[in-house]
Chain length 345, copies 2
């Protein structure tokens, strides 16, 4: 019976010495047995494992970590900028988190989630110094490029999801943002659109790259194509909705909209429809990310697909190589234009 072992929160949990006593061996033998050491006689090991099972004993990871100076934990940190009050609610972000959790747990590691409330202080330095985890994944550079650069000087097991910047010292994994943006805009041009606006907020590196890709594609556009036009909008559904509505109500006219993310693309579609435009007939819409619902909106959303799952796996793969001491290079991942109803071929 495992009833005794599952003691209440404040009661005594079984410790390794308890198992040792029950097995009639020294605690170090139990330690070896539970670690699967071949030094321990097979029969004895089985007996010890059985005992541990019966008593609901599991090795205390805190004590283990202190001893080994290895926590078997990976920290995932999210530097939040303006919307610091906001929780991690963005679908892309959260999908990334799920895939990271997947990849990390597959390696027998735990995931420690931390929100970095902007430049409160040394959010990254403290996380590193604390030794709470064996490696750190930072999702999104936000405005923390310099902080990351500094950390990279002394701390190896760090990987960052985001854009690859000139002179970057830290290891990043991210999508080909300029390429994706160019593909999106070219697609719109090929389908005859000539007045294409960009919706979003190109403050952070990733979105800036998307905006630049948009500009680049317009440079090579046919004569008569309207110049680049940024419709600024924070990356929240409401902000995007209002930005597009205001824009239309101000009398601006365009026949295509390239949104920095799917989330705001979806809001944009709604604003367009509510203002009497049909999508894609009057205005074609292209997003970026290919979040789960993108294929399931009405109309379904043409978008630049980022392979989050592969991205997450790559991040974790690189992180573990760095934990082993390897100096890994940054990676840029290809994207794929998913042509759907909101901007058909």
């Amino acid at each position: 019976m495992k009833q005794r072992a599952r003691e209440s929160s404040r009661g005594k949990a079984a410790k390794m010495t308890d198992i040792a006593r029950l097995a009639g061996v020294h605690v170090s033998t139990v330690s070896r047995a539970l670690a699967g050491s071949p030094l321990v006689e097979a029969g004895k090991r089985k007996r010890i494992e059985q005992l541990a099972l019966e008593h609901g004993y599991v090795v205390n990871p805190v004590a283990r970590s202190l001893r080994l100076k290895r926590t078997q934990m990976v920290s995932v940190m999210i530097p939040l900028q303006h919307e610091a009050g906001q929780p991690l609610t963005d679908p892309f972000f959260v999908a990334m988190l799920g895939h990271l959790a997947e990849a990390v747990t597959q390696r027998g590691y735990g995931l420690h989630l931390q929100k970095a409330v902007r430049p409160t202080h040394e959010w990254l330095g403290d996380a590193i110094a604390s030794g709470r985890s064996d490696g750190i994944v930072v999702i999104g550079q936000s405005t923390e490029h310099e902080t990351l650069q500094r950390a990279a000087d002394t701390y190896l097991p760090l990987v960052v999801w985001g854009a690859q910047l000139p002179g970057q010292k830290y290891c990043s994994v991210g999508s080909d943002n300029p390429g994706g943006a160019r593909a999106a805009v070219r697609h719109l041009l090929q389908s005859g659109r000539r007045r294409i606006v960009f919706l979003g907020d190109p403050t952070g590196p990733e979105l800036r790259q998307r905006y630049e890709g948009y500009e680049r594609a317009l440079e090579g556009a046919p004569r008569g194509t309207a110049p680049a036009r940024l419709v600024p909008a924070h990356l929240t559904p409401d902000a995007a909705y209002q930005a597009v509505r205001d824009c239309l109500q101000a009398g601006e006219s365009f026949d295509a909209l390239f949104a920095a993310t799917d989330v705001i693309a979806i809001s944009a579609m709604r604003a367009l429809v509510n203002e009497g435009r049909s999508v894609p007939q009057d205005v074609a819409v292209v997003g970026f990310d290919d979040i789960a619902i993108a294929a399931h909106t009405t109309p379904s959303l043409t978008t630049v697909r980022q392979d989050v799952e592969f991205g997450a796996r790559t991040l974790i793969d690189l992180l573990f190589r760095r934990i082993e001491g390897e100096e890994t290079e940054s990676v840029t991942l290809p994207v794929e234009l998913m042509i759907r109803e909101s901007a058909p071929g």
Copy 2:
């Protein structure tokens, strides 16, 4: 190579004794100073704090945890059922996770994320016995009601997001699922719909409650209302899309659809439109959750709103009271019908 990395990544981490030496005091004084103890002379404390800051020293939480037997960590566990291979991709889930992270970090605690791959073994018992965290939040009962019941016998700091079941021994927080479902169906009936189908998979307690609420509402419906009709579908976009399409192609006819979650409601709308039905003219659609995009689909989705943020805060509030030793009661939260375009008044 490996050596160098070790050194750079953790070798030179300052310890408390280092700070003590620099300050010319004993380590115990540093400990007290950094803990803000009034015992330490104010000037000395300032000096020690300054030293720690300069040297980027932060207290090692692992050692601290071992000593105090308190980790300042909360575990969030997600028992996954069939889709065990799937990552945590569901928007509701993930929104919940974000709000939990928010609430937990506000209390100076960390969040430990763990996927429980179904009944691999004693997922919950092991998590409890490991002592890795001071409390556990389980998101969704899935099919683990019995496991939770067992754990509740001996472990206090446990809270569960989900339905409140008869004879339940653990503390749960969850929405009024039956009430929400009834409100949704009544709304459809009031707007003249008479053939209302339920889309989803009422296997787990929460969704079963929603289905039962649907049935209940139909019992009190006007004469001539079609009986309850379940269109079974897993809770993924693709599965739901196909279920609805197949249903339509099989010649079934209905004028309203109540979906167990927003995610599948959105897919259902798309399937309906692609099969030539207009929403809401031919078929009204109501979802459940009010996820972020629900208000921004085309048409926007009428849905039963769960207040995830409040739910998360309540979970964490109760959890901390339980960590303090209090026996808290389960909570059922009110829901709100959000009437939008997919099923207008």
